[in-house]
């Protein structure tokens, strides 16, 4: 009796646990999505890939807000399907006839020698066809994963989370998104006003005739905007010593130079040692760049109004995404046949346990994260 009531009260508690509606930190969603994308690129197992797409769809369905920008996910699903179809079609048309099991025989057309004697059509073999499906699915899964973040994290909030070092660039994107609807309004108004000069409203002349006044007024407005921004204190910088600025600048450059050098090593060498060297130098470059960005961020004295904070749910989402990526990468090392489904000979795809767990973990943010609030900003 007591176990039943305890169970009932637990379920009741679980059901009544509604984390208050708030926005998740946009970087939490993006890191989750990138983790999912990295996971997708580590495997060609169709079941796992479809699982990734399903997980992304689940999370988006449960946590996307009622905002116009959140409706783009269906577009990404369509693109994903399109990519698979195109990849398969390309394989059917241009595929190399390796493998043993024929699927269909199309009339063949051999292109001339300067086109490397590529053969269009011909016998379509099963193995490469399967491989193309897996390849297409992989690209599709990467795209869907990244597209999911686009529907979960508000663009406005992403701009607010831009690192302080590139604040100016963030502001210009904010200005662009503020200005865009005005621009569209300008275009329709100016196009309608062409009638007043007896000029046609449609046609090529209308296009250029509309574009120019719009561009002029846009440029004039940018100067008004710049004056207003200046008057409101835009561009105040902290007093920094020359040494400090030198440090930041050097760290910035060092970051880029190290990455370039590391890549150079990675490109040209075969031995494991050099590979580690190369990776190490690239990593060093990334660290240096991160440090320099943090330092450069200190030059601006601006603060953020109502910034997004990292709460437990945000960190947990980040952790889920990271776990998924690491688990898949690990699984690709320890269980290559499970992660990269073989096609020659064609085998049924398996479900490696580690990867499956990772998928489940990746789906968790659909449940423990808070619902987005009703006002979609």
């Amino acid at each position: 009796m007591s176990t039943i009531t305890r169970q009932a009260s637990l379920t009741q508690a679980a059901r009544s646990y509604r984390p208050e509606a708030r926005w998740l930190h946009p970087m939490a969603w993006w890191s989750w999505a990138i983790g999912l994308a990295i996971a997708a690129s580590s495997t060609t197992n169709p079941l796992l890939l479809m699982g990734i797409i399903a997980v992304a769809a689940l999370v988006v369905d449960r946590r996307k807000p009622q905002a116009p920008w959140a409706r783009s996910f269906s577009f990404f699903l369509r693109i994903a399907l399109l990519i698979v179809i195109i990849r398969v079609l390309a394989q059917i048309l241009f595929g190399a006839p390796t493998g043993t099991l024929a699927v269909i025989s199309l009339p063949a057309l051999t292109l001339p020698e300067w086109f490397a004697g590529v053969r269009i059509g011909g016998t379509v073999m099963l193995e490469p066809l399967l491989q193309s499906v897996y390849d297409g699915l992989r690209l599709a899964a990467i795209i869907v994963a990244i597209g999911a973040a686009g529907s979960l994290a508000s663009p406005a909030r992403v701009l607010k989370s831009v690192p302080a070092a590139v604040y100016e660039v963030g502001v210009s994107v904010v200005v662009a998104s503020t200005f865009l609807p005005q621009l569209v309004g300008d275009v329709s108004r100016i196009r309608a006003n062409r009638r007043l000069r007896g000029r046609p409203e449609t046609g090529v002349r209308a296009l250029t005739g509309t574009m120019l006044p719009v561009l002029h007024s846009a440029m004039d407005r940018s100067i008004t905007l710049a004056a207003a921004m200046d008057s409101r204190g835009y561009g105040r910088t902290a007093d920094r010593s020359t040494a400090d600025r030198l440090r930041t600048g050097t760290a910035l450059l060092a970051g880029i130079v190290f990455i370039a050098v590391g890549l150079f090593f990675l490109l040209g060498t075969a031995s494991q040692d050099w590979e580690n060297w190369g990776l190490g130098i690239v990593a060093l470059g990334i660290v240096s760049a991160a440090v320099s960005l943090a330092l450069a961020g200190r030059r601006s004295t601006r603060t953020r109004y109502r910034p997004d904070h990292w709460h437990r749910a945000d960190i947990a989402t980040l952790a889920c995404g990271s776990f998924t990526a690491i688990a898949f990468a690990l699984a690709a090392r320890i269980d290559p046949s499970g992660m990269a489904t073989a096609t020659q000979p064609p085998t049924w795809p398996s479900l490696p346990l580690l990867a499956l767990t990772a998928l489940v973990v990746a789906a968790l943010p659909a449940f423990f994260t808070p619902q987005p609030p009703k006002d979609f900003r």
Partner: protein, 541 residues
Amino acid sequence: MIEFDDVSIRYEPDGSDILTGIDMFISEGEFVLVVGSTGSGKSTLLSSINGLVPHFTGGVLRGEVRVDGRSTREHRPRDLADIVGVVPQDPLASFVTDTVEEELAYTMECLGLAPTVMRRRVEETLDLLGLEELRNRPLRTLSGGQRQRAAIGAVLTAHPKILVLDEPTSALDPGAAEEVLAALHRLVHDLGITVVMAEHRLERVVQYADRVIELSGSGRAIAIGEPTTIMATAHIAPPVVHLGRVAGWHPTPITIRDARRHADALRTLLTGQVPPLRAVPDPNSPPIANLDSLRVQHGTVTALRDVNLRVDQGDIVALMGRNGAGKSTLLHTLVGGLTPTRGSVDVTGSDPRQLAGPELLARVGLVPQEPADLLEAATVAAECAASDKDAGCDSGTTRAIVALLAPDVTDSTHPRDLSEGQRLLVALAIILAARPRLICLDEPTRGLDYPTKARLATILTDLAEAGHAIVLATHDVELAAEVAHRVVILADGEVVADGPTSQVVTSSPMFAPQVSKVLSPQPWLTVGQVQRALANLGGTA
């Protein structure tokens, strides 16, 4: 608080001075009004207070401008952002973010205030300016008055000591202008903020001002003093001041209330006189434009509801009403830019929707709210040539009309470099090239100073006498009183009043010109009418 020490400004190092030898001191908590005709240097003066001139615009500053002890020589505009708040003329063009709340916070973000402080100040400012329900609204969906208040709020959150405003009420209807001015008044009196404001429509503002700065002679002369003193001799003055001068009242009244104290004697003097009647058009001749039970919809919103309007030859009709009442929609329907859902539009016997090209231009022309929309070419001369081609008339016609309307416009200027008034007159000239029977103007007086407005009034009266019909959408009651034969008031898409000017404008205080308010119940509308009546008296006496 603001100190100008023998300041001279010019933009080109070897050009001429825009402002010369300005010496003045504005103390804390003053409401200062800057008046002057276009080109007199008002904007330069205002921009030099926070250092936009010369740090932003380039140029040479001789002398020194000190704001709360800080000199603009060492301090750039961003360094003065915590004590000077600048509200530009076109707030929509200067909004950085999308919503009201974020815009209010933006200034504080730039100044580096702590998030808790920012939160508190945003709430305070929303309350102070009456914007609480609008906090999450996108800025472009706000009305003109709300937008202006949001712009003021955006700079107010920095708790500046000085507010500089460049023509804040020029685009607003009288109601919205009242809201904004009342808010400013509250800021000055409750918070002790110094307000420096440039404005063309003096009739709305001059009663609030503690001191008036008058710039004249292309920035060479400056007069600073009490409103009554300056207005006694100012070139630019509201109608009530001109009335005072004509009637010989001392001290020159600047508010309606002051004027009414003197008005008794004038009223007695003018008893028995009536303003001259405007010619009534022949009701039998066919109307130039006729709207019958017109209904126009924009998506789900009904912009015009059951509107009937008849415009005859030689008529000048003023369309008045709040922003958003449907005035622009009506004008665009007259030109054939919008399709009515119900009812008919008839312009010189045809449906304007069927007309296009020179055919359309010869019958009806519209100068839109933004005259620059019509201007595409790189020089005024090229614009005129294109206009001649569009209208199908002899080359040189448009240029001749431009020379007539705005003689100071040169051929090689870029049309967008012209002043507001010049742009309007060039656009009007382009419309007039084809000699349309019906001429429409949408808010022509935005940003125009008194001399240009008077010029426009003369031009419109001449055009009406020549036989054109004119429909004019405006909320400038003075212009309507000056030129219009009839006034039509629109509210929420419906016509609520349609009759001779003298009847309609005097029926409501919102639309009554200053002279009418002073001399009511007598039917005088403009200073010109009173002046002519007095001259008649003087002639016969």
